[in-house]
Symmetry: C2
Subunit: 144 residues, 2 copies
């Protein structure tokens, strides 16, 4: 469904959100340890998310990654997915046709449309705040 990079990116963002709420900046080392992902690769993805204004980085000693406390609830999953995988997952054709729409549909078009829309709605209505809360409460996990 999502690329590895995107999976790591979402998990990392949730972990950063949880720690930012507690006022803690985190490093790629700590992130990759807590979400069980390759460190250097995860660092690249984090830089990507910084460039897309999903998270913030602070360079130099005592630096790390963080998210402004008051924006955590405004960051939607769709922003992370679009930053890393683009929006093809919920805008492209399920059978890979370049042009697929009501006027020129692929055979799966109608059946696929509702699933794609549900996926888009879910990504656009889920924010980092609620996901981070699940982790904090110990109801959900970021690894294993």
């Amino acid at each position: 469904m999502f690329s590895k990079a995107c999976e790591y990116g979402i998990r990392a963002s949730i972990f950063i959100a949880k720690n930012s709420r507690e006022g803690r900046r985190v490093s790629p080392r700590e992130i990759s340890k807590e979400i069980d992902s390759p460190q250097a690769f995860t660092a690249k993805i984090l830089q990507d998310l910084v460039r897309h204004d999903v998270i913030k980085s602070v360079q130099g000693a005592y630096g790390g990654f963080e998210i402004d406390k008051d924006t955590i609830a405004t960051i939607k999953l769709s922003q992370i997915v679009e930053a890393i995988d683009g929006n093809g997952i919920y805008s492209g054709c399920g059978l890979g046709l370049r042009e697929c729409n009501e006027q020129h549909p692929c055979p799966m078009h109608d059946k696929f449309k509702s699933i794609r829309n549900d996926l888009r709605d879910m990504l656009e209505t889920t924010n980092l705040e609620e996901l981070a809360t699940g982790i904090k409460n110990g109801e959900a996990f970021l690894k294993v």
Copy 2:
């Protein structure tokens, strides 16, 4: 969502189904032309579908690919997807956790579950017969 191989595989299967209904066997050359896919690569995927008993091949002169007329309506999209991509798309965790279930859920687990289930239902209740009908009636397309 699906791999290129899987997209080609579904489109090819629909094209074969449409032609088999009309009693015509088709070659990889004709298939790849009609679904706009790379010929040799498509041929590999067809062999895969033969091994998984989704389609049938007839070797030698006047051979080609076909589907028994009476089984066309029984072949579900899920069979094609599983043959090529496996069932990870609607059984795995959205965030890539090896173990993700009610007892040990990822933060997206509940929200993702319904979408995954809808996708699985769609793939399991859609058969080649109905998809081929759309093509035959000119209501749907396999390329562009």
